[in-house]
Symmetry: C2
């Protein structure tokens, strides 16, 4: 499940009522949250200093959970290898450039008046040649396409995860809320969208947040997690709700990038010549990968409609730039 | 006027018929174009090599023309000085960062849980303090806002202008098409959107193009014009239509950036805390400045509707991100 800890104001939102009336979630009482070990009413001075919300209750979503990205990727890799697909790891693609369709062997081509296409992909592992190139390089899409003069419509922003280990974290992690659960639900704090994910293997929890102001849009080759970000920005808030976490420690941490489409936070899938671009996951890369793969396939095959996993269909151009028709993704955590 | 040189296929477009039926433009016959000195049917080998279109006629727009940006800016500056506005030239603004509303004097603030605002503007000319900061720094908006973690929704792309001088250019420049004209109309070639603007003061023409593929999205401190771009990409096309230009020379050239919103090519005007951002001119910065200034004023004053120069009104949020409601600008040249 996903457990959204909320104050009364948020519990009273229409979206909460909709989830419940659709049978997709239930309200959890404040007392059940307290039983898990949370301080539901932070101390007055902390509340004022840290601008904290109370926990007056929670919304528990049913059809939510955690997944292991490595396992999903490993499955697809093995299936694709059976189908004859080759994988090249540790192969860096140089920035993309269009080439002339018909080479004149004159320095500086392609010129404005030459028909251009994406043909040779220069990599650290030699040159690859393709009829069609599909760029689904997440936040690197931006960097790769800038040189070709194509706007990827996405921006990279660093995201960090801190693994918190210790007896209180272990105890909270094993606190289930429904019979089918084996660990605590993925939990969203009532303040700042801080999230906490169980990691059963290490009896730890992961803590993260999608911070906004002053977190630069940039692409770093090797983004570093910042221990002081946990200490100064995350821990004070966590401690107000879970004071027992003071005896836990950061046992590991790592950083990566989200590739954000900051307008509607949904993928862009579009074609430029013989190049197909699928990007803008905005944090939902795996959850939407099946649908996006189908849209890419339609775009490649020239199908105007795309049939999704559940049999429903969308216009292939709905996720494009020109004829874009999507609603805004509000579930970015 | 604006003179769009076109082949029959383009002349047959609905948008052409609409302009004419609205009394905003007229068709110019091929013979009149020939009289100006154009080769309307390029030679077969050039046409094939350069992928050129014929000139079967043209559309001449009435209420179009050229303006002197310097004069417009000088006028507004003098009016604003009368109103008490100070101008600081040669003052570089450092990248923007949010600051805590209430400073704790603890290293590393603002932290996630602090209320933030844009307060002090660090510049090469000292620190400026403002209740509200309006960023209308064209393509630099992107660079300035990245550090604050705000997506400007625009990308910079280099644009170049080449001034062509010589007797044939001078002769073409003084060729008027309607009684009220004193020089040739701003002209759009039938291929690649190459444009030619008269510069009466120097009896020259300016030639430019908004090239797309392989023209990187990037922000350069000092973008340089590329003589070889004129020689290899522009001149071969120009020469096919105006062979007499072979005796002209590039007497000057310069480069700058367009700040592109590549989605709908219209401005973004939005508010983030006490920061207002007006950007995304996409080449229409001056033409739309009056309207955009009014939208900024509404956003600052909290007015939901903005009255434009002609008395019509739009929703202030129409140009924002969340409630954006604009049609795509097709007139980007």
């Amino acid at each position: 499940g996903y457990l959204f800890l909320m104050d009364n104001k948020r519990l009273d939102q229409d979206v909460v009522k909709t989830f419940i009336s659709e049978g997709r979630a239930e309200i959890v009482q404040e007392s059940s949250i307290s039983e898990m070990g949370y301080i539901t009413k932070p101390k007055k001075d902390e509340k004022e200093l840290l601008n904290l919300s109370d926990i007056d209750g929670a919304l528990l979503g049913y059809n939510c959970g955690i997944i292991e990205p490595d396992r999903i990727c490993a499955y697809y890799e093995s299936e694709l290898r059976k189908m004859g697909v080759s994988f090249f790891y540790n192969t860096e693609v140089k920035n993309l450039r269009f080439e002339p369709q018909t080479r004149l062997n004159y320095p500086g081509e392609p010129f404005l008046w030459q028909k251009m296409e994406m043909r040779n992909l220069e990599t650290s592992n030699g040159t690859f040649r393709a009829e069609t190139t599909i760029v689904c390089a997440d936040m690197w899409t931006n960097v790769l396409l800038n040189s070709a003069g194509i706007d990827s419509h996405v921006r990279g922003k660093k995201r960090q995860v801190f693994r918190i280990t210790g007896e209180p974290a272990s105890r909270l992690m094993s606190h289930t809320m429904r019979p089918e659960q084996t660990v605590m639900p993925f939990t969203i704090f009532p303040s700042y969208g801080i999230v906490m994910r169980p990691e059963p293997g290490s009896s730890s929890v992961w803590i993260s947040v999608a911070d906004d102001y002053n977190r630069p849009f940039e692409e770093e080759d090797d983004p570093k997690p910042e221990p002081e970000f946990y200490e100064n920005s995350l821990f004070p808030v966590i401690r107000s709700y879970l004071p027992q976490f003071s005896s836990c420690r950061v046992s590991s941490m790592w950083a990566g990038h989200y590739s954000y489409n900051t307008i509607d936070r949904t993928h862009y899938v579009f074609k430029e010549g013989n190049l197909i671009v699928a990007t803008g996951s905005s944090g939902s890369g795996i959850m939407k990968a099946d649908a996006i793969g189908r849209v890419v396939s339609s775009l490649y095959s020239g199908r105007k409609k795309t049939t999704l996993y559940d049999g429903s269909s969308i216009q292939t151009g709905d996720l494009g730039v020109e004829e874009r028709h999507v609603s805004t993704e509000h579930m970015v955590i």
